[in-house]
């Protein structure tokens, strides 16, 4: 297979349409006779519902229907439980509409369908819900205290799971260790805030019995499968399309959000296409959130700073329900050891219900927490033992000859956590070179002598990517010579139309512009799971490679017949098949496609199907492990608590790079989100679990003004686990940011003795920490 395009920095196929405003997002779907839905949501974090009176709302002209739990029948049952786990004893999921209780602000109570969204919202105001407000549980620590109010009264506890993983004899290691350091770390809540909020448009055709659902989701195929089961339809008669999706970051993979069930159901009841687009305020309470964990962590080290053991006990906030199971805390637990040799490790967590928006994976999905804990512990070791921070890391890194490296834990895909490949020392040294770490002490001194507080942070991580079970792809060469690639993994901005086209183009001897990639439409490809866990490029990308290889072989066979030459001498290039050394003896791919699908004649004995087409699946034996190092230089103004970034360096290894531009885009976006989680974005709740930051006035997304220019370098250690040698990169940018920034701030504020053990920070919080540092420079 040639490699002209894989690895090339080519422009994205999807950009001409997107940049000209010609994308097709769910809100762009406008259908004749379409009506609009609005959701009435609970203003209480915890309340009983004694009744819902919809009469006044239903009487509004233009209102077609007002639905409450009582109208849903069988569909009113709790939504599906995703990813069960033996330790998850109380796997609670919400009902599409609340029945007798609400458990977070934003929980849907009623659905109004009207001729316009305005009417639907006005009618929501006329619904009278008899709430009996009850004391709410606003934090994980409060939730586990005896006598705390219960989020789910029937289970008698707020703890839905306890789970421990261990490798090595941790307690023995701690008992013998010359140095032990204990810390408490708090990582608070954040929101994914995709530029496009959620949305669903559903037309139902009673004559054909065909339900179509346009859904801004990361997992159209599982949504299709679930809707067919719930509505008793053939999967064949349900088409789910995730068209252009303006960001998902994990929060758009739920199976199911209530609206994804209610809107198609209402469309079937009313015989009219129904549209619901989440507004930003709804999104801040009704789209799943993430990140709250409180760790009591401890590290044992020898006198040289070598890790002897790590243990942590943590509380994981699941919010009011736990549809997605234990994925986030398991990922946090298993990401924590990172690129280091940790001979003994124990991680035990309790997953806890609170009266807050439900938690499911958001970009990083527990990885930032694990890395924050590990990196902050190593900083403590360095400080206490008087060692250089980078040197402590260097001494503990897994070496290139130690792969595959068995961490001794079970990963989120239920397979042993085994790093496939990597060169961790090389990444660290590259990052240190780029940030000019050797010159750092002198620069720090110089800044200090000018009265400025500048700090440097260096943090390492390993990212589990590319997990199974499988993805697939169908590739067809059309008579025009254009190549159509159809796969189940949708795109939310990752550039699938380009990366997947590059892979197919190399195999078929065409340009990526000749390859039209179709994703996210269950009518075009029927099998798959979805775009999540940094897996699309790795799993679907290799399926594309396999299918393209199969089409290539068929094209060569057909060409061999037409050109009367041995198959071995047929080459594909420039959109043509030709005989090696005789470029004039050539036939175009389009002609081959026509020849492979004749109107007459009997097919040869070894015929394996019409046209130039193949379907292939790829299933990885286990996840592939990317890694990287972030290094930054940050100046803190102790008067205002504000930060300014002097430099931000990322060295990243995700195996073979398909397209450096796309990869860097992933990293840039990830770092921006990471900076939000490190310093700006905080989902604040009051003591009655009322969300206080539901607009961008209070929830501060980093803008171009806050995100520094990034310097990104790539190391390429191929993965042995797949033919293309690639690993995922979707979450890489976000993972170590809070750890690196915390370290840099602590370094800058060393003269004040400020101690950073939380994320996100904020200017006012930094000023507090400076005051608490009890030292004056």
């Amino acid at each position: 297979m040639g490699t002209r395009y894989v690895g090339a920095r080519i422009a994205r196929n999807e950009d001409p349409a997107l940049l000209r405003g010609r994308g097709l997002f769910v809100d762009d779907v406008r259908l004749p006779g379409m009506v609009h839905a609005a959701v009435l949501r609970s203003p209480h974090a915890r309340a009983r519902i004694h009744g819902v009176d919809t009469r006044r709302a239903r009487a509004v002209p233009g209102v077609l229907a007002v639905y409450t739990h009582a109208d849903l029948g069988r569909l009113g049952a709790p939504l599906p439980k995703l990813i069960p786990h033996p330790s998850l004893i109380h796997h609670k999921t919400q009902c599409p509409l609340a029945s007798d209780a609400v458990r977070y602000v934003g929980e849907p109570v009623a659905l109004v369908v009207a001729e316009s969204r305005y009417l639907a919202e006005d009618a929501c105001d006329l619904i009278e819900v008899a709430y009996e407000p009850l004391p709410a549980v606003a934090s994980v620590e409060e939730a586990v205290r005896p006598g705390s109010p219960l989020v789910h009264e029937d289970i008698g506890t707020n703890v839905c799971a306890r789970y421990t993983q261990q490798t090595g004899d941790v307690d023995d290691a701690f008992a013998r260790a010359p140095h032990r350091f204990r810390e408490r770390f708090v990582v608070d809540r954040g929101a994914a805030c995709p530029m496009e909020t959620r949305g669903v448009v559903a037309p139902w055709d009673a004559r054909t019995g065909l339900l179509e659902v346009w859904d801004s989701t990361q997992a159209p195929i599982p949504i299709r499968n679930g809707l067919a089961a719930m509505f008793g339809l053939l999967q064949h008669n349900v088409r789910v399309v995730a068209p252009d999706v303006g960001g998902g970051f994990g929060a758009k993979i739920m199976m199911f959000y209530p609206e994804e069930v209610l809107v198609p159901w209402a469309a079937m009841r009313l015989g009219r296409p129904v549209k619901w687009i989440e507004d930003r305020r709804e999104s801040m309470v009704a789209m799943n959130q993430e990140r709250e964990q409180i760790h009591d962590a401890e590290i044992a080290a020898d006198g040289d700073g070598r890790i002897l053991g790590v243990r942590t006990v943590f509380l994981y906030d699941s919010g009011a329900y736990i549809p997605y199971g234990l994925i986030v805390p398991i990922v946090a637990s298993t990401t924590l050891p990172g690129p280091y040799r940790v001979p003994s490790y124990r991680c035990e967590f309790a997953a806890v219900f609170t009266n807050k928006t439900t938690v499911s994976p958001y970009r990083g999905a527990g990885r930032p927490h694990g890395v924050f804990v590990m990196e902050r512990l190593l900083d403590r070791v360095a400080r206490e033992l008087g060692l250089d921070r980078a040197e402590v890391r260097r001494r503990n890194l897994i070496q290139p000859d130690q792969f595959p490296y068995d961490v001794g834990l079970i990963y989120q895909d239920n397979a042993p956590l085994r790093y496939d490949s990597g060169n961790y020392p090389l990444c660290l040294e590259r990052a240190l070179d780029l940030i000019d770490y050797a010159a750092w002490p002198a620069r720090k001194q110089a800044a200090r002598s000018e009265g400025r507080y500048v700090g440097c942070g260096v943090a390492c991580y390993v990212e589990g990517t590319g997990i199974g079970p499988y993805e697939g792809c169908r590739i067809t060469v059309e008579p025009s010579g254009k190549v159509v690639v159809a796969t189940g993994v949708g795109t939310q901005g990752q550039g699938h139309m380009t990366s997947l086209a590059q892979i197919a183009a190399d195999a078929l001897g065409v340009t990526p512009r000749d390859v039209s990639v179709h994703t996210g439409d269950t009518a075009l490809f029927n099998w798959g799971t979805g775009t999540f866990a940094s897996r699309a490029a790795t799993v679907a990308g290799n399926a594309v490679a396999l299918a393209a290889q199969a089409v290539r072989e068929r094209a060569r066979r057909v060409a061999a017949t037409l050109l009367e030459a041995p198959v071995e001498e047929i080459e594909l290039a420039g959109g043509k098949a030709s005989v090696r050394g005789v470029p004039a003896r050539a036939v175009s791919l389009g002609e081959l496609a026509v020849a492979a699908n004749p109107l007459r004649f009997a097919m040869p004995a070894d015929w394996d199907g019409p046209g130039l087409e193949a379907v292939r699946y790829f299933t990885p034996p286990q996840g592939a492990f990317s890694n990287g190092v972030h290094a930054c230089i940050v100046e803190v103004d102790p008067e205002t608590g504000m930060l300014s970034f002097h430099r931000y360096v990322v060295v990243h290894d995700c195996g073979r790079v398909i397209n450096p531009t796309i990869l860097e885009g992933q990293i840039h976006g990830g770092v921006a989100q990471g900076l939000g989680g490190a310093f700006w974005e905080k989902l604040a709740y009051d003591e009655q679990a009322q969300p206080l930051s539901t607009t961008f006035m209070d929830y501060l997304l980093p803008t171009a003004a806050e995100v520094p220019a990034l310097e990104v370098a790539h190391v390429e250690t191929p993965s042995p686990l797949n033919p293309l040698g690639i690993k995922g990169a979707g979450e890489a940018g976000v993972i170590p940011v809070a750890a690196a920034v915390a370290q840099a701030i602590e370094d800058a504020l060393e003269p004040f003795g400020a101690h950073i053990a939380e994320a996100p920070l904020s200017p006012s919080r930094l000023r507090q920490l400076i005051a608490e540092g009890r030292r004056t420079p």
Partner: protein, 147 residues
């Protein structure tokens, strides 16, 4: 959220007490009050329109006066909800003579939820103080004009 404050009113304590308990005075002086209906002894049905930060909302609910110790003390409990969320508050008013006038101390604890909490909570303290200030200013004017 807790709020408190004091006001000095240029009228004797009895006059202040009477005015504070006069539904007409409450109707005139409560900012944003659309409707105040007496539904029982010291119990009113009220509709209020208040803007907090970017959220203007109409709330309907009940207002109860309890623990009346004329002319020195009463407690007030307020509960309302509307499209913009809900608010719930409890407070006390204490009067004492001060020269020819009256010193009025008030304190309250207000809880809000839904949209106004998410969008307006940061502003709530300021807005609350402002509205209560308007209320007492109006009251002062009524006392001053002898009505």
């Amino acid at each position: 959220m807790k709020l408190d404050g004091t006001n000095t009113l240029a009228a004797p304590i009895e006059t202040v007490w009477t005015t504070l308990n006069d539904p007409e005075a409450l109707r005139r002086c409560t900012p944003g009050l659309q409707e105040l209906k007496e539904v029982g002894p010291d119990t009113y049905q009220a509709t209020l329109t208040i803007g907090i930060a970017a959220v203007k909302g109409t709330y309907s609910g009940t207002l109860r006066i309890t623990d009346k110790q004329p002319p020195r003390h009463y407690r007030i409990a307020l509960e309302g909800s509307g499209g913009a969320g809900f608010m719930k508050g409890e407070g006390s008013v204490d009067l004492e003579p001060q020269g020819n006038g009256t010193l009025l101390r008030w304190s309250g604890d207000v809880q809000v939820g839904g949209l106004i909490a998410g969008v307006g909570q940061r502003m709530l303290g300021g807005v609350g103080k402002m509205l209560i200030g308007q209320f007492f200013k109006c009251l002062e004017q009524r006392l001053g004009s002898g009505t």
